[in-house]
């Protein structure tokens, strides 16, 4: 990180590019002002500019634009003010003021970012000074709108580990003891013929033939048939995910779909299969008009349907927009709590979490569940992955969490490209929505409530969100696996996990205590939910940011002391054994026993 920790608004969590990692010899870093450029990064333009910092006065300095980032450094004072913003974070660039605008710093650029901040720059009014920089930012921030490539395809970064190998579908299913006598792996989607937004490897009821699957696909929106997400090793209950059935206005039925769901129920002898429809009841009804709908009582007799009342992507987008209004640039002062409530952001979090709790509770009590929303790639992904996080401690490890994201979000076709709008200039696109951010927020809420249950820390979550937008890694690019394959993302880009796993020590929670057979139920009450200040308000220097919690700091200190003492003891033991060979003192045995006794708990 180039900036000094004194001024938190300087700190760029993305600045890890310069993190000291001597082992990466392949990284040739050219100095660009203070920040090290990434391999493959190229300088495009430098310009004198005034950064209108919302927390300080206007700052004179120089801006450097590369094909990856916007970097600003002040020139007017000793205290460093820097900005290091990947262009991928930018959602909108606007010109502010005109050549004839009056007032100081009224002529310039306004940049809206996806990570809860806006940047304003002022330029000299004479000589169309902003034209070139505006066009360059516009071009490089939205390369896809200009027939150019995303930076991830230009990056030459090399890491020891290939993060693309973190998730292998077969390996993950084998970990879940699949396939088995009840569930089989099918390659029917090998060429994305059954469903183009699903992965190639699917797990389905053993008794369902490939022909059955095809017929079921005809009755499910976008052919996203119910497939297995998670298998409970003890009670054999499963979490299935899919899209809505194509019931339509006429209330169509499909015998194959009905039979298929019954096969799921039968697999572990569940008496009643529970179908969780993530939507509010009214929305599910309204979907009939466009050919969708929900599983009716009469058609699916051995199933009960529960609506989880989670709103759609548009509601979530507006909610986050409101949240940004109250936290950036200034935190709403006088009516903080009611303003926070009026954004509904935490209420949405509460609904998603309580939905996931219900799913997890049902599964751990031995009943299989089916989860869907409309298309089964937004709310469904949130619910299944959160429920899996509650049920399976593996997903709470650093590796496991990567697998969870790769599996439930990336491989099952959460439409990252549409929701985030990578490299696309159309900032008002109705398809954009912070669904994944909302999920990460839910995970954060869980880590807050269970500070010892997760192997990874908050920093990992922030890094994931930063690179959700940055376009430096290929991990979150494209909408589904088939698109990723045809663009050879694995071959041409670096995975975020290559980067993360190159220095895992940064992301480890020291308090992590593995407990394998424990279901984690967070409390989905507003009493416990809190705004993730260190993410949403991290640009504001006035909000107290503790780099590291005092407890964590103390714990790490104590760990170091313990290791130091252990080393000393070891040395003493060694010298003892040499002593023993020389002169056998009868007392020497006692401390040794002590030591072995002490070492066991570590």
């Amino acid at each position: 990180m180039a900036s000094a920790p004194i001024a938190p608004y300087n700190s760029s969590p993305l600045g890890n590019s310069s993190s000291p990692n001597a082992s990466r010899e392949s990284l040739k870093m050219e100095p660009l002002a203070d920040v090290a450029m990434l391999p493959g990064e190229e300088r495009v333009i430098d310009k004198d500019i005034i950064y209108i910092c919302p927390f300080n006065a206007a700052v004179k300095g120089k801006v450097f634009i590369t094909n990856y980032r916007l970097y600003f450094k002040n020139t007017d004072s000793e205290t460093p003010v820097t900005l290091d913003v990947p262009l991928g974070v930018i959602s909108r660039v606007e010109k502010m003021g005109g050549a004839s605008s009056r007032g100081e710093n009224s002529y310039g650029l306004e940049i809206t970012c996806k990570d809860m901040r806006n940047l304003r720059f002022a330029l000299k009014q004479e000589g169309h000074s902003r034209r070139d920089i505006f066009e360059i930012i516009f071009k490089y921030a939205f390369p896809l709108s200009h027939g150019m490539q995303l930076f991830a395809f230009l990056s030459q970064e090399k890491y020891e580990e290939n993060g693309w190998n973190v998730y292998e579908a077969m390996e993950e299913y084998r970990r879940q003891v699949l396939p088995n006598s009840e569930w089989r792996v099918t390659f029917i989607n090998k060429n994305y013929e059954l469903c183009d937004t699903y992965p190639t490897i699917l797990v389905v009821p053993y008794k369902a033939t490939d022909e059955d699957l095809r017929r079921v696909a005809a009755f499910r929106s976008r052919c996203r048939i119910p497939v297995l997400s998670w298998f409970h090793k003890e009670n054999h209950a499963v979490i299935m995910r899919c899209s809505q059935p194509l019931v339509g206005m006429s209330g169509k039925r499909n015998k194959d779909d009905e039979r298929y769901l019954d096969l799921i129920r039968e697999a572990n002898g569940t008496t009643k299969l529970t179908i969780y429809d993530a939507r509010p009841n009214v929305n599910a009804v309204a979907n009939k008009a466009t050919g969708g709908g929900y599983e009716g009582d009469d058609a699916y007799q051995n199933a009960e349907l529960v609506f989880l009342d989670i709103h759609n992507i548009h509601v979530m987008r507006e909610s986050l927009k409101k949240l940004k209004d109250i936290v950036y640039p200034n935190v709403e002062e006088s009516h903080w709590l009611s303003s926070l409530e009026s954004t509904h952001w935490l209420e949405h979090i509460k609904l998603v979490l309580s939905g996931a709790i219900q799913v997890a509770d049902k599964v751990s009590s031995g009943s299989s569940v089916v989860v869907h929303c409309s298309d089964g790639w937004d709310r469904t992904a949130q619910l299944t992955s959160l429920a899996m996080l509650m049920l399976d401690s593996y997903y709470r490890t650093l590796r496991g969490f990567q697998v969870l994201l790769e599996k439930e979000w990336i491989s099952f076709g959460h439409k990252f490209a549409s929701r985030i709008g990578h490299g696309d200039k159309n900032h008002a696109d109705q398809d954009r929505s912070p669904i994944f951010l909302q999920f990460i927020d839910c995970v954060w809420q869980m880590t807050k409530q269970f500070p010892t249950a997760f192997e990874f820390n908050e920093r990992l979550l922030v890094v994931i969100l930063d690179h959700l937008y940055s376009c430096r890694f290929g991990t979150f690019l494209y909408n589904c696996e088939s698109a990723r394959e045809s663009n050879n993302v694995r071959g041409k880009t670096v995975s975020l996990w290559s980067f993360v796993n190159s220095d895992t020590s940064l992301y480890i929670n020291p308090f992590f205590t593995p407990e394998s057979s424990r279901v984690l139920y967070p409390v989905a009450s507003m009493r416990h939910l809190e705004l993730w200040v260190t993410y949403y308000i991290r640009w504001n220097p006035r909000i107290l940011h503790q780099q590291q919690s005092p407890v964590e700091q103390r714990y790490k200190e104590l760990l170091a002391v313990r290791d130091q003492y252990l080393k000393k003891l070891e040395e003493l033991q060694l010298s003892d054994s040499t002593h023993l060979t020389n002169s056998s003192t009868p007392n020497a045995a006692t401390p040794n026993q002590h030591i072995t006794h002490l070492q066991t708990p570590f």
Partner: protein, 685 residues
């Protein structure tokens, strides 16, 4: 535990419906009813009792309860279960004076009676004619008890209800407060273990309190001399500049505080799950509407302004209010905590409270309404407000404080335990005169009465370990000398114990002095202090930011961040009894457990190393960790986030699923009805 009626199925209806008559229950519970009695404290007298009474267990969604006997004594209302106490209930953090089923009379806040499904607030008048089927007791420490009176004999039920209502609600004289019966009892011969502990431990501790008092006398004298010196100084060409700040103009008055807290506490007095989830919907705006957090913020803000004057402008501050014993105490103590790390130690904090509040003549008796006076004008949770503010500081800068939030929570509870004299009087003089009058044997001197600071009266030493913050590190000694020059400055920070040595007629000579001083100073006031309300905030903000930019020194000046998201609710105090919010196996206690495990490992290792070779041990660095007390957590079972207060032993390991979710989110926006995908193409294959 008896499960009645719904038998475990989710019953959302809050009222209890019994399908069993008392006779049936008696026949079920065949063994002859053996009379159970509470273990009485010395001086405690039983007034009345009733059996069987059903106490509802809050832990469950279903309306279940435990049968037992309800007693009312001159100290408490207590419920003794008919069931054999489980061995497991042996807690590390147990109050020796009262248990989880005891309510000290002083701790009762409100009593509600349920008559034919209708809930009524019980006041004196209602008591005489009818007794309710269900009695709900709200406690000042925010516990809620619900008893069904329908199972016991009518006269018993009536008697216990009237007894409790009388002793908890009726106005009484100070003499009737249990402390006087308690201390009047001869101690030898009592077999209660705490007594022994108390008496042998009492002496040294008491002497500490005495020193505190004598210190106060000194500071008071210092005050007086300083006062006149200051007046002189101001008159004779300002050697010091002085700012006065009239708190009654800039802060809410005690009635505002009282009203706000009354609203605020209601959100935590939860009687059942349905209420809980209903109130969850508008949680944030409810909190805000009470204004309580805002009052906390204002007090902290004011204290920061005072600190700014002292620290940055080197200006003396004179804070005044009408009587100088309410908000003056709050602001002055807060400023001292921010300025002087001594007051962030446990002993320092106690002496601060003793100095600024007890000796400073905060009218505890009136403000806490210990005597249930009907006149509401004088009641106000000012001391609690102070503790709240301290909690905010503790929460934001935990390593700077030697005491823990548990300590603050226990202290806030102890105000309502009528065993201690500390918070029982309106002033020192009041205390002395009452004590003299009440002493049965004049020759044996004034009565000795336990002070709240003798924590061994309430907790054994293991439990007291929870008062200490494991993150606190003492400052290395030699630095203290460096700090010394700053000291006098801190003492210039004045509070005005206007009634210090004069009692009830509160407007004494001191008040007059203040007034004349105020008049003199009026000319000297800096304009910005009095200027528009935004002005001081802006400079204070600057002051805070410049402090924030310096590296944080936990033994130096400490300022709170007062932005909206930085002010929190004192979760431990307010949510500790609400089972819906218990995080099983989570919360900060999970982290503390880990920290303590590691600390004990390190301490063991150090011991081994020392045994091995004392010369080696000397070489080991003198890290201050080793002074820390180890907290012993119950290893049996998983702790919940409300540890060490509530224990979840009854509830099964089931998640709590919020109810009434849809009511919460009425998104009327047209967006809500839109489809996820703009082009809602549904593929038919």
């Amino acid at each position: 535990m008896l499960s009645l009626g719904s038998g475990g199925a989710k019953s959302t209806k809050p009222s209890f419906v019994s399908y069993v008559t008392p006779e049936e229950i008696k026949s079920e519970k065949d063994p002859p009813k053996q009379e159970k009695h509470p273990d009485l404290l010395p001086g405690e007298v039983e007034f009345c009792s009733a059996n069987p009474i059903l106490k509802y267990t809050q832990d469950d969604l279903s309306q279940r309860g435990v049968f037992g006997t309800l007693f009312c004594t001159n100290f408490r209302v207590t419920f003794i279960s008919d069931e054999k106490p489980q061995e497991k209930t042996d807690k590390t953090f147990k109050n020796k004076l009262y248990g989880e089923n005891d309510i000290p009379l002083m701790c009762v806040d409100h009593i509600y009676g349920v008559y034919d499904e209708k809930r009524k607030l019980i006041t004196g008048g209602l008591v005489k004619n009818k007794y309710p089927s269900k009695m709900i007791i709200h406690c000042k420490d925010l516990r809620v008890f619900q008893f069904s009176l329908t199972f016991s004999k009518e006269e018993d039920a009536k008697k216990i209800f009237q007894g409790i209502a009388h002793h908890c609600l009726e106005e009484k004289s100070l003499k009737c407060v249990f402390a006087f019966s308690y201390m009047g009892t001869p101690s030898p011969g009592t077999d209660l273990s705490f007594c022994r502990g108390f008496h042998c431990k009492n002496k040294p501790k008491l002497s500490i309190v005495l020193t505190v008092n004598s210190t106060f006398t000194l500071t008071s004298i210092f005050f007086f001399s300083f006062f006149f010196r200051m007046i002189n100084a101001v008159a004779h060409n300002h050697l010091y500049s002085v700012k006065t700040e009239d708190l009654s103009e800039s802060l809410p008055n005690i009635q505002d505080i009282q009203q706000s807290y009354n609203k605020f506490k209601q959100f935590f007095l939860i009687e059942n799950s349905t209420d809980f989830w209903l109130s969850d919907v508008k949680w944030f705006s409810s909190l805000e509407s009470s204004g309580w957090l805002d009052i906390i913020r204002q007090c902290l803000q004011k204290a920061v302004e005072v600190v700014e004057c002292l620290e940055k402008d080197n200006t003396n501050v004179l804070i005044t209010e009408e009587e100088g014993t309410d908000l003056c105490c709050v602001i002055s103590s807060l400023a001292q905590i921010m300025l002087d790390p001594y007051y962030r130690t446990l002993m320092g904090f106690q002496s601060l409270v003793q100095k600024e509040w007890v000796a400073g003549c905060h009218a505890f008796l009136d403000r806490c309404n210990h005597l249930h006076q009907k006149d509401k004008e004088y009641h106000s949770p000012v001391f609690l407000l102070f503790l709240e503010c301290v909690w905010q500081l503790v929460h934001q800068h935990s390593p700077a404080f030697q005491f823990s939030e548990t300590y603050l929570t226990v202290l806030s509870d102890s105000v309502h335990v009528p065993v201690f004299s500390t918070f029982l009087f309106n002033s020192s003089h009041h205390r002395e005169s009452v004590m003299k009058a009440e002493s049965p044997l004049a020759q044996s001197g004034p009565l000795s009465c336990p002070t709240v600071w003798d924590w061994s009266v309430q907790f054994d030493s293991k439990a007291q370990n929870f008062f200490f913050n494991p993150l606190y590190l003492e400052k290395v000694k030699h630095d203290r000398a460096v700090r010394k020059p700053h000291k006098p400055k801190h003492q210039r920070n004045l509070s005005l114990p206007s009634t210090a040595f004069k009692t009830p007629p509160k407007k004494g000579f001191f008040k007059d002095e203040t007034d004349s001083l105020k008049k003199m100073l009026r000319v000297k006031r800096l304009s910005r202090w009095r200027g528009s309300p935004d002005a001081p905030a802006a400079t204070t903000r600057e002051f805070f930011e410049s402090w924030q930019h310096r590296p944080l020194d936990y033994h130096g000046l400490l300022l709170p961040c007062l932005d909206g998201p930085a002010v929190h609710i004192w979760m431990q105090r307010y949510l500790r009894w609400i089972p819906e919010v218990y995080i099983l196996g989570g919360g900060s206690v999970a982290v503390m457990t880990k920290l303590m495990e590691l600390l004990s490992q390190v301490q063991d290792l150090k011991r081994v190393l020392e045994q091995r070779d004392s010369s080696q041990a000397a070489k080991l660095d003198h890290r201050p960790y080793f002074q820390h007390r180890l907290l012993s957590f119950d290893s049996s079972g998983r702790l919940s986030s409300s540890f060490p207060f509530a224990y979840t032993c009854y509830r099964s390991f089931k998640p709590i699923i919020p109810t009434g979710l849809m009511q919460s989110l009425m998104v009327t926006d047209s967006l809500a009805s839109q489809e996820d995908e703009a082009s809602s193409v549904v593929s038919f294959v």
